[in-house]
Protein backbone atom coordinates (compact mmCIF):
# COMPACT_ATOMS: atom_id res chain seq x y z
CA UNK A 1 0.00 0.00 0.00
CA UNK A 2 1.14 3.56 -0.45
CA UNK A 3 0.37 6.46 1.84
CA UNK A 4 -1.32 9.73 1.08
CA UNK A 5 0.67 12.88 1.72
CA UNK A 6 -1.46 13.59 4.77
CA UNK A 7 -0.76 10.16 6.27
CA UNK A 8 2.97 10.58 5.68
CA UNK A 9 2.98 13.98 7.35
CA UNK A 10 1.07 12.55 10.32
CA UNK A 11 3.49 9.65 10.73
CA UNK A 12 6.40 12.04 10.27
CA UNK A 13 5.26 14.41 13.01
CA UNK A 14 4.32 11.61 15.39
CA UNK A 15 7.64 9.86 14.88
CA UNK A 16 9.49 13.16 15.26
CA UNK A 17 7.90 13.72 18.63
CA UNK A 18 8.54 10.16 19.85
CA UNK A 19 12.13 10.18 18.57
CA UNK A 20 12.95 13.40 20.37
CA UNK A 21 11.43 11.99 23.51
CA UNK A 22 13.30 8.69 23.32
CA UNK A 23 16.54 10.46 22.48
CA UNK A 24 16.16 12.58 25.60
CA UNK A 25 15.34 9.53 27.71
CA UNK A 26 18.73 7.99 26.94
CA UNK A 27 20.48 10.31 29.41
CA UNK A 28 19.73 11.36 32.98
CA UNK A 29 19.52 15.04 32.15
CA UNK A 30 17.44 14.40 29.02
CA UNK A 31 16.20 17.55 27.30
CA UNK A 32 18.58 19.69 29.36
CA UNK A 33 21.46 18.45 27.19
CA UNK A 34 20.00 20.21 24.17
CA UNK A 35 21.11 23.52 25.67
CA UNK A 36 23.73 22.27 28.11
CA UNK A 37 25.96 20.82 25.41
CA UNK A 38 26.29 24.09 23.43
CA UNK A 39 26.47 26.03 26.70
CA UNK A 40 29.48 23.98 27.83
CA UNK A 41 31.01 24.47 24.45
CA UNK A 42 30.60 28.25 24.61
CA UNK A 43 31.98 28.17 28.15
CA UNK A 44 35.14 26.46 26.90
CA UNK A 45 35.54 29.02 24.14
CA UNK A 46 35.01 31.76 26.69
CA UNK A 47 37.61 30.33 29.07
CA UNK A 48 40.25 29.87 26.40
CA UNK A 49 39.70 32.91 24.24
CA UNK A 50 37.81 35.28 26.54
CA UNK A 51 39.50 35.03 29.90
CA UNK A 52 42.97 33.81 28.97
CA UNK A 53 42.87 35.88 25.80
CA UNK A 54 44.87 33.30 23.94
CA UNK A 55 44.27 35.33 20.88
CA UNK A 56 42.82 38.45 19.42
CA UNK A 57 40.18 40.95 20.31
CA UNK A 58 37.47 40.69 23.00
CA UNK A 59 34.80 39.95 20.45
CA UNK A 60 36.74 36.95 19.20
CA UNK A 61 34.50 34.73 21.37
CA UNK A 62 31.47 36.21 19.65
CA UNK A 63 33.11 35.62 16.30
CA UNK A 64 33.74 31.97 17.20
CA UNK A 65 30.26 31.34 18.58
CA UNK A 66 28.56 32.71 15.46
CA UNK A 67 30.80 30.51 13.33
CA UNK A 68 30.74 27.32 15.32
CA UNK A 69 27.05 26.99 16.24
CA UNK A 70 25.65 27.12 12.68
CA UNK A 71 28.49 24.88 11.50
CA UNK A 72 27.75 22.28 14.18
CA UNK A 73 24.12 22.26 13.10
CA UNK A 74 25.19 21.54 9.52
CA UNK A 75 27.73 18.85 10.36
CA UNK A 76 25.58 17.04 12.92
CA UNK A 77 22.53 16.94 10.65
CA UNK A 78 24.44 15.74 7.60
CA UNK A 79 26.41 13.09 9.49
CA UNK A 80 23.33 11.83 11.35
CA UNK A 81 21.36 11.71 8.12
CA UNK A 82 24.05 9.63 6.44
CA UNK A 83 23.21 6.74 8.79
CA UNK A 84 19.46 7.25 8.76
CA UNK A 85 18.49 4.80 6.03
CA UNK A 86 20.65 1.98 7.36
CA UNK A 87 19.28 2.56 10.84
CA UNK A 88 15.72 2.34 9.58
CA UNK A 89 16.31 -1.07 8.02
CA UNK A 90 13.70 -2.70 10.25
CA UNK A 91 10.96 -0.39 9.07
CA UNK A 92 12.14 -0.38 5.47
CA UNK A 93 11.77 -4.16 5.34
CA UNK A 94 8.32 -3.91 6.85
CA UNK A 95 6.39 -1.21 5.02
CA UNK A 96 6.50 0.56 1.70
CA UNK A 97 7.80 3.97 2.56
CA UNK A 98 9.84 6.51 0.65
CA UNK A 99 13.40 6.20 1.85
CA UNK A 100 13.77 10.01 1.81
CA UNK A 101 11.49 9.94 4.87
CA UNK A 102 14.39 8.92 7.12
CA UNK A 103 17.02 11.59 6.36
CA UNK A 104 14.27 14.21 6.44
CA UNK A 105 13.19 12.95 9.85
CA UNK A 106 16.76 13.23 11.16
CA UNK A 107 17.06 16.76 9.77
CA UNK A 108 13.78 17.69 11.48
CA UNK A 109 15.02 16.28 14.78
CA UNK A 110 18.21 18.32 14.58
CA UNK A 111 16.20 21.36 13.50
CA UNK A 112 14.07 21.25 16.65
CA UNK A 113 17.18 20.99 18.81
CA UNK A 114 18.85 23.81 16.88
CA UNK A 115 15.95 26.14 17.74
CA UNK A 116 16.79 25.72 21.42
CA UNK A 117 20.49 26.16 20.72
CA UNK A 118 19.83 29.39 18.83
CA UNK A 119 17.83 30.85 21.68
CA UNK A 120 20.82 30.16 23.87
CA UNK A 121 23.18 31.61 21.28
CA UNK A 122 21.33 34.91 21.25
CA UNK A 123 21.36 35.05 25.03
CA UNK A 124 25.15 34.60 24.95
CA UNK A 125 25.67 37.16 22.22
CA UNK A 126 23.80 39.81 24.14
CA UNK A 127 25.48 38.78 27.37
CA UNK A 128 28.89 39.11 25.74
CA UNK A 129 27.99 42.66 24.82
CA UNK A 130 26.70 42.45 21.27
CA UNK A 131 24.01 45.09 20.67
CA UNK A 132 20.91 43.86 18.85
CA UNK A 133 20.28 45.84 15.68
CA UNK A 134 17.81 45.82 12.80
CA UNK A 135 20.05 43.62 10.64
CA UNK A 136 19.31 40.78 13.09
CA UNK A 137 15.91 40.58 11.42
CA UNK A 138 17.67 38.98 8.44
CA UNK A 139 18.62 36.06 10.65
CA UNK A 140 15.54 33.86 9.94
CA UNK A 141 16.24 34.23 6.23
CA UNK A 142 19.80 33.00 6.55
CA UNK A 143 18.53 30.24 8.78
CA UNK A 144 16.11 29.03 6.08
CA UNK A 145 18.84 29.16 3.43
CA UNK A 146 21.07 27.04 5.65
CA UNK A 147 18.19 24.62 6.27
CA UNK A 148 17.77 24.16 2.50
CA UNK A 149 21.49 23.46 2.20
CA UNK A 150 21.31 20.94 5.05
CA UNK A 151 18.34 19.12 3.52
CA UNK A 152 20.08 18.87 0.15
CA UNK A 153 23.36 17.60 1.61
CA UNK A 154 21.56 15.18 3.96
CA UNK A 155 19.59 13.63 1.12
CA UNK A 156 22.88 13.09 -0.72
CA UNK A 157 24.82 11.50 2.15
CA UNK A 158 21.85 9.34 3.20
CA UNK A 159 21.65 7.94 -0.32
CA UNK A 160 25.34 7.18 -0.68
CA UNK A 161 25.97 5.31 2.59
CA UNK A 162 23.79 2.24 1.89
CA UNK A 163 25.54 1.67 -1.43
CA UNK A 164 29.01 2.59 -0.22
CA UNK A 165 29.47 1.82 3.50
CA UNK A 166 33.05 3.12 3.34
CA UNK A 167 31.60 6.57 2.75
CA UNK A 168 31.24 7.24 6.47
CA UNK A 169 35.03 7.48 6.86
CA UNK A 170 35.26 9.81 3.90
CA UNK A 171 32.43 11.87 5.33
CA UNK A 172 33.99 12.36 8.75
CA UNK A 173 37.30 13.43 7.20
CA UNK A 174 35.38 15.62 4.78
CA UNK A 175 33.63 17.35 7.67
CA UNK A 176 36.94 18.19 9.34
CA UNK A 177 38.19 19.58 6.06
CA UNK A 178 35.00 21.57 5.58
CA UNK A 179 35.28 22.94 9.10
CA UNK A 180 38.80 24.17 8.42
CA UNK A 181 37.74 25.63 5.10
CA UNK A 182 34.70 27.48 6.43
CA UNK A 183 36.57 30.06 8.47
CA UNK A 184 35.23 29.26 11.91
CA UNK A 185 38.45 30.07 13.74
CA UNK A 186 39.79 32.80 11.50
CA UNK A 187 38.62 35.80 9.58
CA UNK A 188 39.23 34.93 5.95
CA UNK A 189 40.00 38.57 5.12
CA UNK A 190 43.07 38.31 7.34
CA UNK A 191 44.19 34.81 6.46
CA UNK A 192 43.33 34.06 2.84
CA UNK A 193 45.18 35.77 -0.01
CA UNK A 194 42.91 38.29 -1.77
CA UNK A 195 43.10 36.39 -5.07
CA UNK A 196 41.84 33.20 -3.34
CA UNK A 197 39.06 34.81 -1.34
CA UNK A 198 36.34 34.31 -3.93
CA UNK A 199 37.30 30.63 -4.13
CA UNK A 200 37.06 30.40 -0.34
CA UNK A 201 33.60 31.96 -0.42
CA UNK A 202 32.43 29.52 -3.09
CA UNK A 203 32.11 27.05 -0.23
CA UNK A 204 28.47 27.60 0.81
CA UNK A 205 29.23 27.10 4.51
CA UNK A 206 32.03 29.69 4.42
CA UNK A 207 29.63 32.06 2.70
CA UNK A 208 26.84 31.43 5.20
CA UNK A 209 29.11 31.97 8.22
CA UNK A 210 30.39 35.19 6.66
CA UNK A 211 26.84 36.40 6.16
CA UNK A 212 25.78 35.41 9.69
CA UNK A 213 28.68 37.51 11.04
CA UNK A 214 27.89 40.35 8.69
CA UNK A 215 24.32 40.72 9.97
CA UNK A 216 24.94 39.90 13.64
CA UNK A 217 28.29 41.58 14.27
CA UNK A 218 28.51 44.32 11.65
CA UNK A 219 24.81 45.16 11.49
CA UNK A 220 24.95 45.04 7.68
CA UNK A 221 22.39 43.45 5.34
CA UNK A 222 23.63 40.19 3.77
CA UNK A 223 24.89 39.87 0.21
CA UNK A 224 21.85 38.74 -1.69
CA UNK A 225 23.28 37.16 -4.81
CA UNK A 226 25.38 34.40 -3.21
CA UNK A 227 22.62 33.66 -0.69
CA UNK A 228 19.98 33.28 -3.35
CA UNK A 229 22.36 31.07 -5.36
CA UNK A 230 22.77 28.74 -2.37
CA UNK A 231 19.01 28.67 -1.82
CA UNK A 232 18.19 28.08 -5.47
CA UNK A 233 20.77 25.36 -6.06
CA UNK A 234 19.82 23.58 -2.82
CA UNK A 235 16.16 23.75 -3.76
CA UNK A 236 16.76 22.30 -7.22
CA UNK A 237 18.98 19.56 -5.78
CA UNK A 238 16.24 18.65 -3.27
CA UNK A 239 13.58 18.39 -5.97
CA UNK A 240 15.85 16.29 -8.19
CA UNK A 241 16.88 14.01 -5.33
CA UNK A 242 13.31 13.40 -4.15
CA UNK A 243 12.55 12.15 -7.66
CA UNK A 244 15.69 10.10 -7.76
CA UNK A 245 14.83 8.51 -4.41
CA UNK A 246 11.61 7.25 -5.97
CA UNK A 247 13.57 5.63 -8.78
CA UNK A 248 16.04 3.82 -6.57
CA UNK A 249 13.48 2.72 -3.99
CA UNK A 250 13.84 -1.04 -4.52
CA UNK A 251 17.64 -1.02 -4.91
CA UNK A 252 17.83 0.89 -1.63
CA UNK A 253 15.51 -1.57 0.11
CA UNK A 254 17.69 -4.44 -1.12
CA UNK A 255 20.83 -2.76 0.14
CA UNK A 256 19.65 -2.38 3.71
CA UNK A 257 18.70 -6.00 4.37
Amino acid sequence: MSYSRRQLVDVFLTKLKFNLKSEASKTYLGYVWWVLEPALFVLVLYLVFGIFRARGTPDFVIFLVIGKIPFLWFSKSVVNASNSILQARGLINQVIISKAFFPLLVVAQDLVKQLFVLTLMFVFLIWFGLEPNLAWLYFPLLFVVQLLLIVACSLITAMITPFLPDFKYILSTGMVLLMLMSGIFFDYREVILPKHQSLFLANPMARLLTEYRRILMDGQPPEWLPLSMIALISFLVIIALLRFYRRIDTPLARRVL
Partner: protein, 247 residues
Protein backbone atom coordinates in the same frame (compact mmCIF):
# COMPACT_ATOMS: atom_id res chain seq x y z
CA UNK B 1 -0.59 -3.66 -14.38
CA UNK B 2 -3.92 -5.24 -15.10
CA UNK B 3 -6.62 -5.38 -12.48
CA UNK B 4 -7.10 -8.58 -10.55
CA UNK B 5 -10.36 -10.44 -11.08
CA UNK B 6 -13.19 -9.75 -8.70
CA UNK B 7 -12.33 -12.83 -6.69
CA UNK B 8 -8.56 -12.54 -6.64
CA UNK B 9 -7.17 -10.38 -3.91
CA UNK B 10 -3.68 -10.93 -5.13
CA UNK B 11 -2.08 -12.49 -8.18
CA UNK B 12 1.58 -13.15 -8.92
CA UNK B 13 2.56 -13.65 -12.55
CA UNK B 14 5.97 -15.17 -13.30
CA UNK B 15 7.70 -13.19 -10.61
CA UNK B 16 11.51 -13.16 -10.53
CA UNK B 17 13.57 -11.38 -7.93
CA UNK B 18 17.28 -11.47 -7.21
CA UNK B 19 19.56 -9.91 -4.66
CA UNK B 20 22.67 -8.18 -5.83
CA UNK B 21 25.62 -9.01 -3.66
CA UNK B 22 28.63 -6.76 -3.74
CA UNK B 23 31.72 -8.54 -2.48
CA UNK B 24 34.21 -5.78 -3.11
CA UNK B 25 34.51 -2.71 -5.27
CA UNK B 26 34.39 -4.57 -8.58
CA UNK B 27 33.00 -7.98 -7.71
CA UNK B 28 29.23 -8.17 -7.87
CA UNK B 29 27.03 -11.23 -8.21
CA UNK B 30 23.30 -11.71 -8.55
CA UNK B 31 21.66 -14.23 -6.32
CA UNK B 32 18.23 -15.27 -7.58
CA UNK B 33 15.92 -15.50 -4.58
CA UNK B 34 12.59 -15.93 -6.38
CA UNK B 35 12.26 -17.64 -9.77
CA UNK B 36 9.17 -17.68 -11.91
CA UNK B 37 6.60 -17.78 -9.12
CA UNK B 38 2.93 -17.58 -10.11
CA UNK B 39 -0.15 -18.09 -7.99
CA UNK B 40 -3.23 -16.21 -6.91
CA UNK B 41 -5.16 -15.77 -3.70
CA UNK B 42 -8.86 -15.23 -3.35
CA UNK B 43 -10.40 -13.00 -0.75
CA UNK B 44 -10.85 -14.86 2.52
CA UNK B 45 -8.36 -17.56 1.65
CA UNK B 46 -5.50 -18.55 3.92
CA UNK B 47 -2.35 -19.85 2.36
CA UNK B 48 0.65 -21.42 4.03
CA UNK B 49 4.15 -21.23 2.63
CA UNK B 50 6.59 -23.91 3.69
CA UNK B 51 10.12 -24.74 2.68
CA UNK B 52 13.63 -25.04 4.03
CA UNK B 53 15.66 -22.11 5.33
CA UNK B 54 16.76 -19.78 2.56
CA UNK B 55 14.25 -21.01 -0.03
CA UNK B 56 12.88 -17.50 -0.55
CA UNK B 57 9.80 -17.47 1.71
CA UNK B 58 10.50 -14.18 3.46
CA UNK B 59 11.63 -12.53 0.24
CA UNK B 60 8.42 -13.66 -1.40
CA UNK B 61 6.38 -12.01 1.36
CA UNK B 62 8.29 -8.75 0.85
CA UNK B 63 7.62 -8.89 -2.88
CA UNK B 64 3.94 -9.49 -2.16
CA UNK B 65 3.89 -6.60 0.31
CA UNK B 66 5.44 -4.35 -2.34
CA UNK B 67 8.60 -3.62 -0.38
CA UNK B 68 10.59 -5.07 -3.28
CA UNK B 69 9.53 -4.59 -6.88
CA UNK B 70 9.98 -7.82 -8.88
CA UNK B 71 12.73 -7.89 -11.52
CA UNK B 72 10.37 -9.64 -13.95
CA UNK B 73 6.70 -10.52 -13.87
CA UNK B 74 3.95 -8.71 -12.02
CA UNK B 75 2.22 -8.61 -8.67
CA UNK B 76 -1.41 -7.59 -9.07
CA UNK B 77 -3.04 -6.43 -5.87
CA UNK B 78 -6.72 -5.71 -5.33
CA UNK B 79 -6.39 -4.81 -1.67
CA UNK B 80 -5.94 -1.45 -0.06
CA UNK B 81 -3.85 -2.38 2.93
CA UNK B 82 -1.38 -5.13 3.53
CA UNK B 83 0.39 -5.77 6.77
CA UNK B 84 3.62 -7.71 6.98
CA UNK B 85 4.49 -9.21 10.32
CA UNK B 86 8.02 -10.52 10.60
CA UNK B 87 10.31 -11.03 13.54
CA UNK B 88 12.15 -7.75 13.03
CA UNK B 89 8.80 -5.88 13.01
CA UNK B 90 10.41 -2.52 12.40
CA UNK B 91 10.06 -1.45 16.00
CA UNK B 92 12.26 1.32 17.32
CA UNK B 93 14.11 -0.19 20.32
CA UNK B 94 14.27 3.11 22.20
CA UNK B 95 10.60 3.99 21.95
CA UNK B 96 8.04 2.53 24.31
CA UNK B 97 5.70 -0.28 23.32
CA UNK B 98 2.82 2.19 23.27
CA UNK B 99 4.61 4.58 20.92
CA UNK B 100 5.73 1.76 18.67
CA UNK B 101 2.17 0.44 18.52
CA UNK B 102 0.91 3.89 17.47
CA UNK B 103 3.53 4.21 14.72
CA UNK B 104 2.97 0.63 13.54
CA UNK B 105 -0.78 1.20 13.41
CA UNK B 106 -0.36 4.45 11.49
CA UNK B 107 1.95 2.71 9.04
CA UNK B 108 -0.75 0.12 8.51
CA UNK B 109 -2.99 2.90 7.29
CA UNK B 110 -4.97 3.94 10.38
CA UNK B 111 -5.08 7.50 11.61
CA UNK B 112 -3.41 8.33 14.89
CA UNK B 113 -6.78 8.91 16.54
CA UNK B 114 -8.04 5.51 15.37
CA UNK B 115 -5.00 3.72 16.72
CA UNK B 116 -5.19 5.54 20.02
CA UNK B 117 -8.86 4.71 20.37
CA UNK B 118 -8.06 1.01 20.06
CA UNK B 119 -4.82 1.06 21.98
CA UNK B 120 -6.32 -0.46 25.13
CA UNK B 121 -7.66 -3.33 23.09
CA UNK B 122 -4.23 -3.86 21.52
CA UNK B 123 -2.44 -3.78 24.87
CA UNK B 124 -4.92 -6.13 26.41
CA UNK B 125 -4.62 -8.66 23.61
CA UNK B 126 -0.82 -8.50 23.74
CA UNK B 127 -0.98 -9.05 27.52
CA UNK B 128 1.82 -6.57 28.07
CA UNK B 129 0.31 -4.76 31.05
CA UNK B 130 2.54 -2.09 32.56
CA UNK B 131 5.36 -3.11 30.21
CA UNK B 132 3.66 -1.18 27.43
CA UNK B 133 5.33 2.04 28.60
CA UNK B 134 8.80 0.53 28.79
CA UNK B 135 11.18 0.86 25.85
CA UNK B 136 10.95 -2.00 23.35
CA UNK B 137 14.62 -2.88 23.85
CA UNK B 138 13.66 -4.35 27.23
CA UNK B 139 11.14 -6.71 25.60
CA UNK B 140 11.78 -10.36 24.85
CA UNK B 141 11.35 -11.55 21.26
CA UNK B 142 8.05 -13.14 22.24
CA UNK B 143 6.74 -9.90 23.73
CA UNK B 144 7.66 -7.97 20.61
CA UNK B 145 5.91 -10.36 18.30
CA UNK B 146 2.87 -10.39 20.58
CA UNK B 147 2.66 -6.62 20.27
CA UNK B 148 3.14 -6.68 16.48
CA UNK B 149 0.54 -9.38 16.05
CA UNK B 150 -1.95 -7.55 18.30
CA UNK B 151 -1.63 -4.31 16.33
CA UNK B 152 -2.20 -6.05 13.01
CA UNK B 153 -5.07 -8.22 14.19
CA UNK B 154 -6.87 -5.44 16.06
CA UNK B 155 -6.66 -2.90 13.25
CA UNK B 156 -7.90 -5.39 10.65
CA UNK B 157 -5.75 -5.23 7.57
CA UNK B 158 -7.16 -6.76 4.42
CA UNK B 159 -4.20 -8.98 3.71
CA UNK B 160 -2.13 -10.24 6.60
CA UNK B 161 1.34 -11.61 5.82
CA UNK B 162 2.78 -13.49 8.76
CA UNK B 163 6.42 -14.52 8.75
CA UNK B 164 7.17 -16.92 11.62
CA UNK B 165 5.80 -14.45 14.13
CA UNK B 166 3.50 -17.00 15.72
CA UNK B 167 6.33 -19.43 16.35
CA UNK B 168 8.03 -17.41 19.04
CA UNK B 169 5.21 -16.68 21.47
CA UNK B 170 4.58 -18.99 24.41
CA UNK B 171 2.08 -21.84 24.15
CA UNK B 172 -0.70 -19.84 25.77
CA UNK B 173 -0.37 -16.89 23.39
CA UNK B 174 0.09 -19.14 20.38
CA UNK B 175 -3.21 -20.82 21.19
CA UNK B 176 -4.97 -17.50 21.63
CA UNK B 177 -3.48 -16.14 18.40
CA UNK B 178 -4.45 -19.25 16.48
CA UNK B 179 -7.99 -19.05 17.82
CA UNK B 180 -8.39 -15.44 16.75
CA UNK B 181 -6.85 -16.26 13.38
CA UNK B 182 -9.29 -19.11 12.77
CA UNK B 183 -12.05 -16.71 13.73
CA UNK B 184 -10.81 -14.07 11.31
CA UNK B 185 -10.22 -16.51 8.50
CA UNK B 186 -13.79 -17.70 8.87
CA UNK B 187 -14.97 -14.12 8.60
CA UNK B 188 -13.13 -13.38 5.35
CA UNK B 189 -9.66 -12.35 6.52
CA UNK B 190 -7.02 -13.20 3.92
CA UNK B 191 -3.78 -14.56 5.30
CA UNK B 192 -0.45 -15.74 3.99
CA UNK B 193 1.45 -17.60 6.65
CA UNK B 194 5.11 -18.56 6.50
CA UNK B 195 5.91 -21.16 9.09
CA UNK B 196 8.08 -24.14 9.90
CA UNK B 197 5.36 -25.42 12.21
CA UNK B 198 3.56 -27.72 9.80
CA UNK B 199 0.82 -28.61 12.27
CA UNK B 200 -0.02 -24.92 12.58
CA UNK B 201 -0.08 -24.54 8.81
CA UNK B 202 -2.35 -27.56 8.53
CA UNK B 203 -4.68 -26.13 11.15
CA UNK B 204 -4.93 -22.63 9.69
CA UNK B 205 -4.46 -22.90 5.95
CA UNK B 206 -6.70 -24.01 3.16
CA UNK B 207 -3.87 -24.27 0.65
CA UNK B 208 -0.12 -24.73 0.91
CA UNK B 209 2.76 -23.67 -1.28
CA UNK B 210 5.98 -25.61 -0.97
CA UNK B 211 8.94 -23.55 -2.06
CA UNK B 212 12.35 -24.81 -2.99
CA UNK B 213 15.32 -22.72 -4.14
CA UNK B 214 13.11 -19.78 -4.99
CA UNK B 215 10.56 -21.71 -7.06
CA UNK B 216 7.20 -23.22 -6.29
CA UNK B 217 7.76 -26.95 -5.97
CA UNK B 218 4.19 -27.95 -5.25
CA UNK B 219 0.96 -26.16 -4.54
CA UNK B 220 -2.25 -27.71 -3.30
CA UNK B 221 -4.13 -29.05 -0.29
CA UNK B 222 -2.24 -28.88 3.01
CA UNK B 223 -2.39 -32.53 3.95
CA UNK B 224 -0.75 -34.08 0.93
CA UNK B 225 1.82 -31.34 0.39
CA UNK B 226 2.97 -31.33 3.98
CA UNK B 227 3.25 -35.10 3.74
CA UNK B 228 5.49 -34.86 0.64
CA UNK B 229 7.54 -32.10 2.20
CA UNK B 230 8.13 -33.93 5.43
CA UNK B 231 8.94 -37.19 3.66
CA UNK B 232 11.57 -35.43 1.60
CA UNK B 233 13.01 -33.53 4.59
CA UNK B 234 13.49 -36.81 6.44
CA UNK B 235 15.18 -38.52 3.49
CA UNK B 236 17.37 -35.45 2.86
CA UNK B 237 18.49 -35.54 6.48
CA UNK B 238 19.66 -39.12 6.09
CA UNK B 239 21.37 -38.65 2.77
CA UNK B 240 25.14 -38.24 3.05
CA UNK B 241 26.04 -35.02 1.33
CA UNK B 242 28.54 -32.22 1.33
CA UNK B 243 29.09 -30.73 4.76
CA UNK B 244 27.42 -27.34 4.92
CA UNK B 245 29.86 -25.74 7.34
CA UNK B 246 33.40 -25.44 6.10
CA UNK B 247 35.99 -26.12 8.74
Amino acid sequence: MTAATAQDLLRLEHVDFSYRQRHSLFRVSDYPAIRDVSFSIERGESIGIIGRNGCGKSTLLRVIAGIYQPDNGAVVRACKNISLLSLSLGFDPLMSGRENAIIAGMLQGSSRADVEARLDEIIEFAELGAFIDEPIRTYSTGMRSRLGFSVAITLRTELLLIDEVLSVGDAHFKQKAEAVMVNRINSDQTVILVSHATTQVQKLCSRVIWMEQGSVREIGDPESIIQHYEAESVSAAHKPGKPTIAS
